[in-house]
Each structure stands twice: as structure tokens, then as C-alpha cells.
């Protein structure tokens, strides 16, 4: 007898599944990761609150890396093309992922953007996630590393309030440090908070305004760059393979 709905006496069987609910996203992320690896691109998922200074850090990064590194970016801006315009102006080839009202990017959105991206030449590919300290952390996009921007105007206890986001971070960029002299911000307190939510706590202090710390950030990125694969430069579109793009995403692409 089914006590849930009183429907009489149907045959109820338990079906064991034991699978991640987001396994479709995981598969799509693995597919994206194979794209990035194939191209020898370092993919960075850049997260943080709205206004944390994500776009500004990328602009400063472009300035510091000009002539040395080719940077690409997709921006999960909520409604406008503003971030992508700013990034393009700074020399980062970039496009917008229009998410509508979504609070995070998922692997399918990033895949679509990859296949429409105007360049296959990037050394580092930034994915500027939707400004949100909760949802983006849950969705693997195929990135090599997660970076969280936390600005000095946000308060030292943010890591304790949003442990999921900071636990998943490979690096925290403490942004807008040029403002510290004007604020009551305790750097040691934010370091302590991070050490309680992030096992390998790593934080760099940066200012997009003054350029402080941008070299250390570039060095961190350089250390993570994969060896060049030689798989790019000879296509005019780096995802120009001809697979149908409504695929389940569980096949790696072979060079064609």
C-alpha cells in the first residue's frame, strides 16, 4: 500500500541510481576541458560578487601582458555587452554570454560561446562568471582553475559566509587594495577566514587602479599554462570541428 498517495496496491520498486544530479553538466565540462587541453589554453573561471572588480582585473592584466600573452575572455554579464566592450577595448578578444536571468554560467553555455569565439589564438582564456558568490561554484565549466575576486570593500568575513565558493577556489584575488588606506579593512582577518574554508589558501593582493600585484598574478597564471600543443594557428576557428552541437558532450574531440 502506498502511503504517499493512497493509490491502492501498485508494485513499487526501488531503482538505485547513486549519480550526481549535475552529471550532464559534468560531462559537458569534461568536453570543454578537452577543447582547452587540445588547444593548450589555460582556462580560468573568474568568480566573485557583482562589482568585485573582475572586469577591472582583466583590463589590468591585458595592459600588463600586452605583447607577451594573447588573452581571450567570455563574460557572463547579466544583461549588457558592457563587460565584453571594456575587455575588447583593453585588448582582450572577448564575447558576451547572455544568460538572461540565470545566476551562473554552466558548461553548456560556455561550450556554445567557445564554438562561436572569434579567435583560436588565446594563451589564457578567462571566463568571467555571473556576479554571485553562491551558484557559480557548483557548475564545473571545464576550467583549469577557479579564481575568486574579493574586494576590500566587501568585508573580511565573506569567506565564512560563502564557504562553498571559497572552498572551491584555487586562488583568491583581494582586489582594490589601493583603497585599504581609506578603509578599516584587516588583511590578516581575511587571511584567517580563508584558512578556515580553503585548504590550500592562496591569496594575492591586487589593484587594477595602481597595477599593484598584477605581476604576481600574471606569474601565477604563467606557472599554470600548459605546454604548447601546436594544435592551433592553422584553423581560422579553433572549434571548427563539425560535430553537431546538441551532443551530450561526452566525447572528446579528435584533431581533424
Amino acid at each position: 500500500m502506498c502511503e504517499t498517495c493512497g493509490c491502492g496496491d501498485p508494485e513499487i520498486v526501488p531503482i538505485e541510481v547513486q549519480a550526481r544530479i549535475l552529471s550532464d553538466n559534468d560531462a559537458q565540462a569534461a568536453h570543454n576541458r578537452s577543447h582547452f587541453e587540445h588547444l593548450g589554453v589555460l582556462a580560468i573561471n573568474l568568480m566573485g560578487s557583482p562589482g568585485a572588480g573582475k572586469t577591472a582585473v582583466l583590463e589590468a592584466t591585458a595592459k600588463a601582458a600586452a605583447g607577451r600573452l594573447k588573452l581571450g575572455a567570455v563574460s557572463g554579464d547579466l544583461a549588457t555587452e558592457r563587460d565584453a566592450d571594456r575587455l575588447n577595448a583593453s585588448g582582450i578578444v572577448s564575447s558576451t554570454i547572455t544568460t538572461g536571468s540565470a545566476c551562473h554560467l554552466d558548461a553548456r553555455l560556455v561550450h556554445h560561446a567557445l564554438h562561436h569565439f572569434p579567435s583560436n589564438e588565446s594563451d589564457i582564456f578567462f571566463i568571467e562568471n555571473v556576479g554571485n558568490l553562491v551558484c557559480p561554484a557548483i557548475y564545473d565549466l571545464g576550467q583549469a582553475a577557479n579564481v575568486v575576486a574579493l574586494s576590500v570593500t566587501e568585508g573580511e568575513d565573506k569567506p565564512l559566509k560563502y564557504p562553498v565558493m571559497f572552498q572551491k577556489a584555487d586562488l583568491v584575488l583581494l582586489t582594490k587594495v589601493d583603497l585599504i588606506p581609506h578603509l578599516d579593512f584587516d588583511v590578516a582577518a581575511v587571511e584567517d577566514a580563508l584558512s578556515r574554508v580553503m585548504p590550500e589558501a592562496r591569496m594575492l593582493k591586487v589593484s587594477a587602479r595602481t597595477g599593484e600585484g598584477i605581476d604576481a598574478w600574471l606569474k601565477w597564471l604563467e606557472e599554470r599554462r600548459p605546454p604548447r600543443t601546436g594544435h592551433r594557428g592553422h584553423h581560422d576557428h579553433h572549434h571548427a570541428h563539425d560535430h553537431p552541437h546538441e551532443h551530450a558532450g561526452d566525447h572528446p574531440h579528435e584533431p581533424h
Binding site: T4, E16, I21, I138, V164, P199
Partner: protein, 115 residues
């Protein structure tokens, strides 16, 4: 509100399992959600109640098994108290999460005349 997208993925998966097993009607879903999964249980329930209508999950119950977070040293296996610094005093190693970030569909109870 990614709880809505989690529920959408959940119902898709249940639909696939129902087709694979000849299930006609779902009575109960058992899911496991970790404390550090980043999922708000109230929002998940609300999202499920909203989205299950007119799907295979219409009328089904969502049973949520919550999992508290646990961290341990990968070398000496010592566990960490809640809120502690996540690096082992003895070994200097960063802690590893033992559990607490699960977002898992464990089991579906369904009417499946053919099984």
C-alpha cells in the same frame, strides 16, 4: 537560484530512468545533499514542488538526506573541528574534504509493472 536548474536536471534524470525501467509513476525520490554543496534545501523543495507538476514526478515526494561536512588530514587522518584552520598542525598538509559536497540522486521509488 540554481536550485531550479538542479531540479530540472533531477527530473530529466528520473524521466530517463523511468523510460529505462518501464516506470509509470514515481512515488518518492531520495537525494543526498551535502552541507557544503551550496544548495538551499528550502529552495530545492520549493523548486521541486513547482517543477514536478505535469512531469513523471507529479505527486512524488522528495526525501532529502543531508550530509554534514567532514575534513581530514591526508597523511595522519586526523579530523578537523568545524571552523578550524584547514591545515594539519602535525603534518603541515592541507585538509581533504571527506564528505559534504554531495548533490546526488540516490534512489527512485516507482511503479514499474514490468520489473
Amino acid at each position: 537560484m540554481h536550485e531550479y536548474s538542479i531540479v530540472a536536471s533531477l527530473i530529466d534524470r528520473v524521466q530517463q530512468e523511468a523510460v529505462a525501467h518501464g516506470g509509470t509513476r514515481v512515488h518518492r525520490l531520495h537525494v543526498k545533499i551535502g552541507e557544503l554543496a551550496g544548495v538551499e534545501l528550502d529552495l530545492l523543495k520549493t523548486a521541486f514542488d513547482t517543477f514536478r507538476e505535469k512531469t513523471i514526478c507529479d505527486g512524488a515526494e522528495l526525501a532529502i538526506d543531508t550530509v554534514s561536512a567532514a575534513w581530514a588530514c591526508p597523511v595522519c587522518n586526523r579530523s578537523f573541528a568545524k571552523g578550524a584552520i584547514l591545515r594539519c598542525d602535525a603534518c603541515g598538509q592541507p585538509a581533504c574534504m571527506v564528505r559534504g559536497d554531495e548533490i546526488i540522486l540516490e534512489r527512485i521509488e516507482m511503479e514499474a509493472p514490468d520489473v
